[in-house]
Structure formats: C-alpha cells, structure tokens
C-alpha cells in the first residue's frame, strides 16, 4: 500500500474533516456550497432516484472518500450501495463494467487518474470495446469518477493530468466539470447515458466555494460553454484551468483586449462547432491545458481549429500546456509546471499584440 502513499491520503482526509460544512439550503434562489458538496449531492440524488445506482471505490464508505466527497453516504444508503473496495483497481473497475453489463448503473470512483492506469485494460479492452465488438448486443452504462491534476504538492505519482489519453478512445465519453452547476448536474445525465462515461474532477476545485441554484439539477454532458464573451482572442480550456483563464481575461480586459473564454466541459466528443464559431469571430486561439504538450488533447484541439478554421486564423494556434516533466514536489516548481494566470495573460497578449 505504501506505493500509493497511504499516509498522504490519511493527511488529506484529516484536513478535509474540519472544512466539511452542511449545505445550508436557504429560501431563495441560491445556496452557498462547494464543488465537493455539489458532487456529493449529485451522488446522493442519483442513489435516491434509482435503485440500480450504487457507488463503489477505495474508501468511499467508512472513510467518507479520500476527498471527503462521499462522506455520510454510507450511513444514509448502507453497505450494499456504498461499497468500499480492496485496492484492486483492475478488479473493481472490471466488476463495475460487469455490473453495468448485468443491468446496474454503477458509479465507480477511482481515487485519482494516477491509479486508473492499473484499470486501463478493463476500460479500453472491455468497457470501450464490448458494445461495438458484440455487434451492439451489450451496452456498458457505467460512470467512472476520478480526481485529476496537481497542486497539492503530492509529487509526480499523485499529480498527473491524463484525461487527454482517455479522450483518445472511441466508445467512451470524457467529461471535465469545472463549475458548481456542472459538478452538480453532469452525474445524473452521465448515468442515463448508455455508454461508459468518465468524469474528471480537478483536485484544486473540491474546495472551491460559490453560489449554486437551490434547485440545481441535471445538465447536458456534451457541448462546450462560452463562459465569457470576447472578440480579440479565444481562450479554449477546461477543468482546473477554467478559472485561471477567466482571471486572465479580466486582466486582459483592463488592457483593452476582449478575450472569449470557452469551457469545453466535454473532452470527447469535442464540441468543434463552438470552438470554430469563436475562432471565426476572434481569429486567434490559445488553448490552455495542464496536460503535457506532446500528443496532448491540446494538440487535438489545435488540429481541429486548423482543419476547420484555417482561413479564419490571423495568428498561429497557440498552446499553453504543462511543462513536460514529472510534477515535482516543491511548491515553486509545482507551480512552474502548470500554466498560471500570469502565463495565460502574457501568452494571450503576445498573440493579440505581437511586438
């Protein structure tokens, strides 16, 4: 178990306990909540709605979830539907696929994308393949949730951003909810989808606080969203980088540059239409992605823009990605390894006003 940094998980669990806060459902339009609580509410809502739904993963029950997302669900729904698993990623992810084949609607939590590498065979060779290879006889209505990204000084083996890999695989859908509304609303739609859906939750978002509609419910899982209108440059991003891009857009606005911010929300299938419509307006695109540059999803997005929007471009498509390094432990190096707001602002300005 030490390989997986058991102690690191224990520390995180303890830190979270203090911060847990019941959602105060106030009369009136919105509720003050966090990304973590929004995800928990989504799971609770799904468990309550459909008896075929159950949650399975390491420490999701008694421990309350490594990121305290599932805290309280074991007490409310019992052992059968909130199942702690042994540390057997291939085993319980495969079991989740089998249960979906068997008629259930499982939510499998793989603690982080880093540990999902052990279950890649089950995801790629079984979940993504059986529907097509069986000639359409079987569907795999399964949701797999994973934390992703860096920022907690957990060093390389606990800090990967590999959602781009999964977005390469036909047969599955890949989501990256960034806003509270998406964190709350994507899960149920994903469970209704007859296909395997992977949901990536950036570790730095769990503590994010904000206002969420009191009656917030399911949202569509496909299609990008324009989070900020602009005319000079399109910032195309998702997940953990969205709020850095919005901050950068603020800084750029003060400098007379109107940046449009596109939240992809869904990495497969990619919403080309929204991206291309934005580039047709701004004629410049900067893709911001914590993943590594080479062969990353940023490369796919850039190619789609060149394929579809070539004549709209006034400048080469730019990419701002994670440094191609195993994420280092010390804070100053970890921060230097992924795009920060200042980097985004500088890159955008360089594109709009080349010296």
């Amino acid at each position: 178990m030490t390989a997986k940094g058991k102690s690191a998980k224990a520390q995180m669990g303890a830190a979270k306990k203090g911060a847990a806060r019941k959602i105060v459902a106030r009369k009136g339009r919105t509720v003050r909540t966090t990304y973590r609580e929004a995800v928990r509410e989504a799971i609770r809502d799904a468990l309550a709605r459909d008896p075929r739904v159950f949650l399975m993963g390491e420490d999701v029950g008694r421990y309350g979830g490594c990121y305290a997302v599932s805290k309280g669900l074991l007490e409310e729904f019992g052992e059968d539907r909130v199942r702690d698993t042994p540390l057997s990623e291939s085993g319980f992810v495969g079991a989740g696929i089998g249960a979906a084949l068997g008629g259930m609607r499982p939510i499998v939590e793989v603690m982080t994308v880093n540990f999902s590498l052990l279950a890649l065979d089950q995801i790629v060779n079984n979940a993504a393949t059986i529907p097509h290879m069986s000639g359409g006889q079987f569907a795999v209505p399964l949701v797999i949730r994973m934390a992703t990204g860096s920022g907690r000084q957990l060093a390389a083996q606990h800090s990967h951003s590999l959602e781009g890999w999964y977005a390469h695989i036909p047969g599955i859908k890949v989501l990256a909810p960034a806003t509270l509304a998406d964190a709350r609303g994507m899960l149920w739609s994903a469970l209704l989808d007859p296909n395997p859906v992977l949901i990536f939750e950036h570790v730095l978002l769990y503590n994010m606080e904000g206002d969420l509609a009191a009656d917030a419910g399911p949202v569509p899982i496909e299609g990008a969203a324009v989070r900020r209108e602009g005319t000079d440059i399109s910032l195309v991003t998702y997940g953990g980088s969205l709020f850095k891009c919005l901050a950068a857009a603020e800084e750029l606005a003060a400098d007379g540059i109107a940046a449009e911010v596109i939240d992809l929300r869904c990495l497969r299938p990619l919403d080309e239409a929204t991206i291309l419509a934005s580039v047709a307006k701004t004629h410049r695109a900067l893709i911001v992605d914590e993943g590594w540059r080479s062969g990353g999803i940023s490369a796919e997005i850039a190619t789609r823009i060149v394929e579809g929007g070539f004549y709209d471009l006034d400048a080469p498509v730019a990419r701002l990605c994670g440094a191609e390094v195993p994420i280092p432990y010390p804070r100053h190096l970890e921060e230097a390894s992924v795009p920060q707001t200042a980097d985004i602002t500088a890159a955008a300005r360089a594109l709009v006003r080349p010296e």
């Binding site: 047709a280 070539f310 004549y311």
Partner: protein, 407 residues
Amino acid sequence: MSEFRMPSLGADMEAGTLVEWFVGAGDTVARGDIVAVVETQKGAIEIEIFESGRVAEILVGPGEKVPVGTVLARIEAPGAPVKKASAKKAPAAKAPAKKAPAKKVPPKKAPAKMAPPKPAPPMPPAGARLRISPAARRRAQELGLETAGIAGTGAGGAITLADIEAAAASAPGPAAAVPAAAPAGTPQASMRQAIAAAMSRANREIPHYYLSRTIDMEAALGWLEATNARRPIARRLIAAALLLRAVAVALRDFPDLNGFWIDGAARPAAHIHVGWSVSLRGGGLVAPAILDADTKPLETLMAALRDLVKRARAGGLRSSEMSAQTVTVTSLGDLGADAVHGVIYPPQLALVGFGRVQARPWVVGEDIAPRRVVEASLAADHRASDGHRGGLFLAALDKLLQEPETL
C-alpha cells in the same frame, strides 16, 4: 480427384518448406491423418489431411519451399465403400481450393481508413471575410498588393500564394510589378492568367461606358519641339509627359473619375496617382503609379517616366508604385492602333487611352490643313459617373493640350 494443398497455418505464413512425407503414391489416407511435416518460421509443424482416399501423385518433394495454397499431392476419392462409418462429408464442407470461383471474397474495398473528418469549414458570414492563406497574405504585404480584387483559385475560392504571384506579375493597377526578386520561374502563362482574371472580373462587375475625342496636337507638339530644341539632348521631353501632365491636371475637377469603387460606393481618391502603362518586351503590361502627377512640373514627370520605364523593364518597381494608382492611362505611343478602348482596372473608376499620333486633314478656320492629331478615349464606371461627365473631362483635356505652355 481432389488436391491436397500447402495449408495456411497462420495469418503471417506465406510459404512452407516440405520436410518429409509420411505417405507416398498409392497409400490410402483418412481424414485427420498426419501426412507430412512442413518447416515454417515457427518450426516444423505436422500437417493433417482432410480428405479420405488414395494418394494418386506427390507433386512437391522434401526440401522444396512453396507458397501457401500450392498443390502438394493429388488424392483419388475412395472408390471402395468408405472405411469410416461416418457419412461422407457433404461437398460443401470440402476445403474449397484457394482459387475456387464460388469463394466469397470480402468486399474489395478495404474497410475505409478513418478518412480524416472532411473539414466542413463553417462558411464565414457571407462576404465579411476574405478567404486568403497566410502565405498568400504575407506575400501580398511584401508586394504592397491590395488583395481585394484578386480571384482565388484555392479551396472555396480562397486566394493562394500562386494567385498572388500571378497577380503581381500581371496587369497595372492592383497588380504588382515583376519584382527583381520574382522567382525566375514566373511563367508568362501565369501573368496571362492573372491579367485574364482581372479583366474578366472587371468586365463582369464594372458597367463601363466609353467616349473618345480626337485632339489636335499640333500646338502641343510644336511647343514640345521648340522646347527640346533649346535643351541639351538629355533633358528633352517626349509627348507622353505632356499627355500625362494634361490628364492629371484635368482630373482635378473630376473626382468621379479618380478613385475607387469599394463596398458599393464610389470613393474619390485624395491624390491623383496616375498609373502609366509600360509594355514589357517579353509580353505583358504593368502600370506603375506616378504619385501626385497633378502637382509635379513637366521636368519632374519626364524624369519620373524615364526612371519608371527603366525599372519596370528591369523588374525593379517598388511595391508602393504598384498599388497606389487612382487612375490608369494607356498610351500606345507611335506604333499601333489609332484608338484605345480599354478595360478599367478594378477597383479604379476610369481608364484614359491615347492612340497613335498621326497626321489627318483638319479644318483650321476656313481651310483644311494637315494636322497631327491623337484619339483620346475614356472608359469609365457608370456607377460613379456618366457620359456627360466623361465628355466634359475629354473637353477639358483637349483645352489643356491646346495651351501646352500652361502645363
């Protein structure tokens, strides 16, 4: 009679070497018997026979390497009652020979490789944006070329690098000169093509009207000769300079003939930059601009003309000279046609033409006298001006040429 062939034992097995036969001609064989050993890249493999019967003939001997499917032996169907109790295999199950016609061949077309999704570029809102490749746009900037009027031969009418190079080598007006650095290979053909493109577009889009007026040049030429006689040879003037000056001065009062037709409206130019046609000996025409021709004295215009013709022929025109024209003059000089009925270079509003100077019987006062005259013509854009205005312009031109000393 049936054939026993070299079996395919694996997708990547192309051939096998016969190592040893366990049966010979005349031996009887039964379905499932091991009849030989074949050497493959994986090692020696025993091969079984699926026919029952008698070996009629061995065709491939030990040591021979043959491709999969090669007939190794001929097997006679058993005449005597079948030894094995089980019913004879129905023919359908017999291993159809590789070449058996009835063999169902998978569809010829290999499964379509994931053709890259046909990029259906969302068409930009109509007309708002020029479809031009980055390379073409950069080249146009280098040449100071206005890309608006160029017909694109790229996808969806997009303007390509080749379109810019061709346009640069072609007609006056928006077309750039043949730059010294022009790639050696600028074929005459591409220039022709670009001229053709500009001309057809002009004809298609510009509603021309044409006027002409014969102008008595005796006064002007007489003044010219007298002036030249007083000057050293190097500072002599030619008639072209006079004509250039006269057109420029006349245009001062005719903004509707000196400017551009852009986005559905005539836009008079602030300056009078006259594009003067220079024929290139290898064929083709350029009309580099002489800037502010209406403000420059004859001396300066003459020097400018001389310099322009030399550089045009040597391919050394500056980009600014190739895109600044507000009007164009085509003067055929001493040789060639009596009159010019030209085509306007888009997006300009007019083209002035001069035929060759020639002696004609002319009414002077009461008499008929031989006079040197020239046919001046005007092709103009009817959206910006009309025949009446064109006529007034030619009259003003005539009047100026009758007072050469004032030019």
